[in-house]
Amino acid sequence: MSYHTVASSGTATVVPRSQGSSWASIVSGQPSRPRISSTTTGLRNQRNGSYANLSDLGSQSGRYYSAALSNAFNTQSKLSQLPVSVPSYLEDSLYAEKLEAARDPSWSSTIPSRTSSYTSVGLHAAQSRGSGLKLDVKDTIQTTEDDLPTPLPTKWNENDKSGGVDVSQDGLNVQFLGPNKVNEYDSASVRADHFIPRSCGVYYFEVTIMNKSREGLISIGFCGADVQLNRLPGWEPNSWGYHGDDGKSFCCSGMGKAYGPQFNSKDVIGCGINFRTNSAFFTRNGHMLGTAFRDIPTDRKLFPAVGMKKPGEHIRVNFGQEEFSFDIDGYIKVERKSALQEISDSQVESLCPPLDEASLIQSLISSYLQHDGFVETANAFAQDLQAEQNALSNKGKPKPLELMEDKDAIRRQNIRSAILEGNIDKALKLTQAYYPEVLLRNEQINFRLRCRKFIEMMRQSAEANNGRKKVPPPASKRRAFDTYEEDEDVDMDSGDTRSDMDMDDATPVTGPTPPDNLDMLTKVLEYGRQLQEDFKGKPELQEEMEEVFSLFAYSDPMVSPMAHLLSEDGRAPVAEALNSAILVSLGKSSKAPLERLVQQTTVLLRELGEEGGPASFVNLHNWIHNMEYLPNS
């Protein structure tokens, strides 16, 4: 595998060439195509800690507006220092999750799945994915500095070394310069460019002894930011090291303890710090040498460090840019298993007394279904639960089931389905009729709906143009061409909410055949002009609008670089944003308890994971989507 170096805001980042294209999309903010197939990426199969590209995880959500987002993102400079990818052993760490969240703030703890099945077999789902339109009602994105993860060590720090060693241009090689450069009693050490974030859970790097002196006086380890660099790591307070001349481990003192073999040329020495157990270990040529240090203080920032003392000594570091010789992935697996076992053994009764686990879960599910207006599912689920309850009660007296007749829920449901089938006009009309203040107060949402309407018109025109449609368009699709102004009467005074459902049949269709294509394009253009006119005073919306309008530039937008905008996947986020806005207008929480639960868990996990405990082994997103490593309880 070859690597190329790309400078971004003054920071050089090494990425595997083979994955450069998706990497580039993160930096440039250019759209990366949503992945439609539900194949698992090869990430999990990569072994031994080689880099897995994070964008493979993150970009599947297909955020087409990431350029606009990152412009608004004032912590850009710090962001540019963050790694674009993590070694595979960190893939499931909290650190990796925070990294993704920082890259794409509209994404939270959780992004659409890379393995998009609900169970490992039996269901093949092309799930509705995130789309370009931002998911939330609120427009501002607030990510504070302290929520950003810190960068990982990537190279030796040219500016944080003793004069006695030379760091190569790529920052990976360190060579002893010779006794004339230092006092004969002095050694020469160097620290890495960044300290190790505890949220990694475990941090690991390897050093190859490229060449050693006769004595092999090389120390590999880690130390605090303030430790003198004219001593070997391990000799000074706040420093720890494994020494190659005598194979001893040194813990903040000149007195070493017998630990492992002496170093030979071409040996690969690995150093790992476990923040869950606050201990450190070393490996040699892929073999574990055992715990070297315990009780490493938890309140220090620790940097990888090497030191040497004799001419001819030369080492090269692998901070994860290449494959490790030790199976660190396997080590992590064992660590994670014990962390997850602890979590899986926890009791949930205190969460929401008096509910036990099963009823808590049932309540979370039914409240989510109701909150988000999945009326029929909510009723079907309630019936299933009722049936179960009746079967279990010996008396067998069936309790009459009260079905959900929440008027608002049914209205919200109708609005949602209209959007999901691409009938934006119907959604707009219903919203106008039942919740007129929602569109007035939420200009963003109004704008999104209108943009979506434009996209639906564009879709239809494109489909008609290249004759993709073998069947006549369903009424709902054709209706994209009714103009917004042509209002039909929505029976808003009638208490009979069922009448909403009949709208489909009641609405006259514009014509028996689709309008010819030129006519269609003209209408799209007209609608676009109107859109431009209506929102021209809003500079913050211009970028999104221009992006949508760029569809005009292609004779066949369906195969253009902007084709992703036309995807049906974009409908669900619009529907969800509108639903949330309606809920807020009704004085209800915009989030269902299940969502609160995920939000709270995310925040608490991040806080806990900062300490480096078991929580740092939980990447909530991967947790939701890949349960295979969870031990059976």
Binding site: Q362, L364, T377, H625
Partner: protein, 244 residues
């Protein structure tokens, strides 16, 4: 230069700050829907799963057979019709009971319990005795715990129903049926190489764990995190009522 990882003491986030942190997390709807769908499939709620795929616009092909079969089997067990449940299991997964002797025993014992329950109404203990001798007794020597369970169950016959000790009364509790049904459901799922535990279950445990862990932490910042409410309206009765 002092290097501390945690925020310096004194700048402790207020409850409002925590609320804001929580609000700033944007869970993706796709993930929420994944969690719900997974629960409906694993739990075996076929009609809800179908409706949900439609309503949430999930373009998915659900293998309904597995959900429906598991649902039927669990239904039989919930109703106490263990014989029908066993027949259906053998029909659907012919190897399952042979390869899972503990599960088989649990089902047979439940069937015995149901026979004893019936005998309490009509005072006809013959069928229960015959069943125990014919089906359970030969299996009991295989595993010591089977023998214990069998003895325990037979003790039900010796006491009038209103004078049962709590451990014995537990055997007659409907919860016993539910436990066995869950066991059957999970074993079928596992044999189909589906992870048998719903994601939401792990999620709820994770949520409980992080809160407990923060409360026990050495860090003052973590201990200062207020209890976070789920906003769940406590349901009345035994199962969640629809909100009006």
């Amino acid at each position: 230069m002092s290097a501390t990882v945690s925020t310096p003491a004194g700048i402790m986030p207020s409850s409002r700050d925590w609320e804001k942190k929580v609000d700033d997390v944007r869970p993706s709807k796709a993930d929420m829907n994944t969690i719900v769908m997974n629960y409906l499939i694993i739990g075996g709620y076929p009609s809800a799963a179908m409706k949900f795929a439609q309503e949430a616009g999930l373009q998915s092909e659900i293998d309904l057979t597995s959900i429906e079969k598991r649902n039927q089997i669990c239904n039989f067990i919930h109703h106490g019709e263990i014989k029908s449940a066993i027949e259906l299991i053998n029909d659907f997964e012919p190897e399952l009971l042979q390869t899972h002797p503990r599960l088989h025993f649990a089902l047979l014992r439940l069937q015995l319990i149901e026979l004893i329950r019936a005998s309490m109404d009509d005072n006809e203990i013959e069928p229960a005795l015959t069943f125990a001798q014919e089906y359970l007794a030969p299996r009991a020597p295989q595993y010591p715990e089977f023998l214990k369970d069998l003895e325990h169950t037979m003790a039900l016959l010796c006491f009038p129903p209103d004078q049962l000790s709590p451990p014995l009364a537990k055997l007659l509790d409907p919860d016993m049926r539910k436990q066995v049904a869950t066991m059957v459901n999970q074993t079928i799922l596992a044999s189909q190489e589906v992870f048998p535990e719903a994601k939401i279950k792990s999620l709820v445990r994770l949520r409980a764990w992080v809160e407990a862990k923060a409360a026990q932490s050495e860090s003052e910042r973590l201990r200062s995190i207020p209890h976070m409410d789920l906003g769940l309206v406590a349901p009345k009765g035994e199962f969640p009522e629809p909100t009006k």
